[in-house]
Symmetry: C2
Subunit: 276 residues, 2 copies
């Protein structure tokens, strides 16, 4: 059984991601913050961590990139999770009873069309995470409230599912990274997350991207992040994919001639976005 | 007096940004969601909107880019705001009285070092926004609680500032966009926000960036956003700056030959990041 650090509590989407990646062979270690998650790996108290890095609606969690760099962690895998929201209540509670709805602010926002259609007068309570909301509704035996969260949190805390798939945008995915203290050499890697800086002149970024293109390396993500305290300078976070490992080796070598301080955050097998 | 739609309530960082950009000549119109903000402009109920688009720590608000496109709004300006956090309490309340702290989850996280040093036992209450927390602490005349927020919310709701600059990261900036229904032709623009798609082949993005570079156009932001429902296709959000408007005209024309569906979200004067 692998010990996996996650931000949040058991039942959360982070646990869903960990179970999916490690095929249920996991014991989750609950952490209050993403920083604590990294500290747990660093102190060898867990085997791996699973950490959200971007969501198709809300965007990237830039601070998590910074944590990965600060703690010198390695990305050893990725997994995409379809984010489906459900209305969870205690046994015996019906639609007509619901006067309060508890969830994470982003989850509430994601279900606003549903809430405004069916519960326009419900009082919304913003909580730290979706699983914690389910736990709260269950533990306090609330008879006039619902939580919004994933199915697992409902099962885990003994709530029943009153409505399923209540999110407005049905194609909402979160990408999670699997992190380790040491990168284990893996066969069959076809994706890498790298970050680099380039000189401050016209075309310095294009030169790096040309090198990738010339070596048949596909870009699947690019994001500039301003460097704090250095106006007009940026770190570029780039995800790249390849069919042929030799092309990747050659591209990285060539890129090092034009980029400064290239870091390979991890090389791994790409995850698939599954349809519903 | 200009009517400005903002997400959140009076006293918020959004109002700070609006006042700074329009030099206090503003009447803010409070909106619950960013969608409502856009609807207000669309219905001509306000003159402009001010909308956060990215924060140096938390990253981009991708959904806001989508709203700007969905409502066909024009970016007519930008402003950077230094995000400083303060501990706000009712008159007569001292440090020793504080058992509860109310604020937005990200604000609480940003002040965690301060909280853990001085108020390790305080119960933290997560609220929709910082200004709403200040309002709550004031209206309920809480004598054992503090709010964390900007100075203006403290002044507006009659709280005194117990501590100032309690954020961990002192170089935290949020960038706000000024939005209008119609783009007014402005002289002296030197920055644009554009988005485009490119063909699915090696080097298609590099080709666009080369065109900008050849025309001495500086990239100040680049971010890929996966297109929902189209695997392996991306929209690129790019901010560019120029010294010479003719170079910009030529670059846009040339880029249109390699990019598909280029949209200019707005052309405006670049905002300055001021030091503290």
């Amino acid at each position: 059984m692998k010990r996996i650090a996650i931000q949040g509590i058991a039942g959360s989407f982070h646990e869903d991601a960990a179970r999916k990646y490690f095929e249920d062979d996991v014991e989750v270690v609950e952490c209050k913050t993403f920083t604590t998650v990294c500290e747990m790996i660093d102190a060898d108290k867990v085997d791996f961590a699973v950490m959200a890095i971007e969501n198709s609606i809300a965007g990237s969690l830039l601070n998590n990139y910074q944590l990965i760099r600060d703690f010198h962690l390695r990305i050893i895998g990725e997994i995409y999770l379809h984010i489906q929201m459900n209305l969870l209540v205690n046994e015996g509670v019906t639609s007509a009873d619901i006067q309060h709805i508890h969830s994470h602010p982003i989850a509430l926002q994601q279900c606003m069309e549903f809430i405004e259609s069916y519960y326009p007068n419900a009082k919304l309570h913003e909580k730290l995470d979706t699983a914690a909301s389910a736990k709260l509704v269950a533990e306090e035996k609330m008879i006039n409230a619902a939580a919004i969260g994933n199915l697992r949190s409902g099962e885990l805390y003994g709530l029943k599912t009153l409505e399923t798939g209540i999110e407005t945008n049905k194609k909402n995915y979160t990408r999670f990274l699997i992190l380790s203290k040491h990168g284990n050499p893996t066969k069959g890697t076809n994706k890498a997350s790298v970050c680099f800086e380039v000189g401050h002149f016209y075309g310095s970024l294009a030169r790096v991207l040309n090198t990738f293109a010339e070596n048949q390396i596909n870009l699947t993500k690019i994001q500039s992040v301003p460097i704090i305290g250095k106006p007009n300078e940026y770190t570029f976070h780039v995800d790249i994919e390849w069919e042929n490992g030799e092309n990747y080796d050659r591209a990285i070598h060539q890129v090092l001639k034009s980029a400064s301080s290239l870091s390979i955050l991890g090389e791994y097998k790409r995850g698939e976005i599954q349809n519903q």
